[in-house]
Amino acid sequence: MSGPAYLGLRALVKSYDGVKNAVDGIDVEIARGEFVTFLGPSGSGKTTTLLMIAGFEDPTAGDIMLEGQSIVRVKPYRRNIGMVFQNYALFPHMTVAKNVGFPLRMRGIEASEATRRVEDALDLVGLRDFSSRHPRALSGGQQQRVALARALVFQPDVLLLDEPLGALDKNLREQMQVEIKRIQREVGITAIYVTHDQTEAMTMSDRIAVFNDGRIEQLDTPLAVYRRPTTRFVGGFVGDSNFLDGRIASAREGRVRIEGLGEVRVPAGATAADGAAVAVLVRPEDIVRADGAARMSLDNRFEFVVRGIVNYGDTVMVMGETGGLGLRIRMPGRAVGTLAEGERIGIGWRAEDGRVLAG
């Protein structure tokens, strides 16, 4: 974290039925100006947590601190937190300018000042010429920008975004990721972004909080979450992965015994005791094809039978098996050559590309 905590969630719990906790003890400290993504599958508690920050849900226990002050008892309309909703929630009976001016009107800001700020906000999202249109006359991406302008125009302390790109098609989604990130940096606002899309989380965030079952499994930078997942769930949810189940043969020497495969080398000084049940995570792109002499530089070398090939153009996912275990290998598109189903090839990976997780 780059600065002192600006927004803090302390042991936050939400239960709707008094039996199961939808949010089960969330602790996060967010610095001013930071972009944090809540990433997780549906029902993992990420949206509920966001709604508690916005004030639309009351926490069952725990506290929410903004600049050292608890805001749990503050009504949503007094929190000064901007929010972009999943389906934008633009007011259909108001023009773009009226929509963006709404929060200023609610704050009794004088008309000429409000007009100026609405224009600035529309400039920021590149929609100045659309101010007299109604939302229904705009495309999905434009509506999204209006929603963003409306959530920023009153200079909120925090910006919340609830799966804001879910309704857009793929190209527009990528464009808006860049756009949202640019605007967030330009304004310097603290932002929390909720999504189940790991690509969005990877490309936009300063840090990612991976939610599962009401808890945060890991909170770290995108690269760390991808390269050094701390749980099997995180490893499986973020990015493609191979899990090899086995037991630690020697933690000190970095050897894990995999059922059906034999021993694989992992970084020495692993986290669990000898004999403990673990899973070794190997990313498909870390496994390389290596026949003959090239094999010798790899710590783990196996024979692999090709069972299926999925071509993505830039890369190819090769599915097959090694010693009865299913394995996925990602190769550069041009490296595949004449690879055919049923073919036996040599593969391998380096010890440091294997990550030992609790099994």
Binding site: A54, P76, Y77, R78, A89, L90, M106, A151, F154
Partner: protein
Amino acid sequence: MARPDVRAWLLVGPATLFIFLLFVAPLGEMLWRSVGGADFTLKHYETFFSTPLYIRVLGHTFWTAFVVTLICLLLGYPVAFVIARYGGKLGGLLLLVVAMSMWTSFLVRAYAWMVILGNRGPVVALLNALGDPNPKVLFTTFAATIGLVHLLLPYMVMAIYAVMARIDPAHLRAAASLGATPGSAFRHVYLPLSLPGVVNGCVLVFIICLGFYVTPVLLGGPQDHLIAGLIGEQIEELLNWGLAAAMSMVLLVATLGVLAIYNAVVGLDKLWG
């Protein structure tokens, strides 16, 4: 939208035939009679427009329709709001109650009001106990208005509810997150979004009320007769078909006038939600 072809006409054929034979044709005959048939005359219309009583009844009909619509709106809007906003068991129950009163015959309901408001009814008994020895409740404008409101309230609730049910709750959250108190959010967001339902409900109730016959006759006094009652009287008691037909045409034109205004402002296709 696809262009209607032969199959489309076949689908609407039976209903079109039914309406033509039993509605358009009789209506044409009424129009025919109102101008004296083959001996063309406008004397029935002259009689209508030159008789103060008839003009008064027409005015009273519009006034009653206006008052009933207003009361239905004031009573119906909050009910529709609760059903749409809170839903669940309470909403379902309220919706059932509203629908049930729509399913009960209006004649039965008019007689029920006669019992409730009549001389042996609870209302009179209560007023007696409060010191009014001889209250006049039944056969008054008050009774007629209550009866009409009771009959037409479900239409108002349904029309408003149909629009409210489609208002995305995210709009209210958005308003709150932007700094609107619950009152402001209602005034600036919810109310304008529910307005189409209000207009629909008002037009529906107003138009049904314009042509209402039985309830004011049964519950109101002679001064509460609406124009439909007057038409019935002309036919049943005076066999004055010409004048009755002319009155019907006036009522029809008035109703179409209201619909025309609605169509110009909102669009007729929106009337049923």
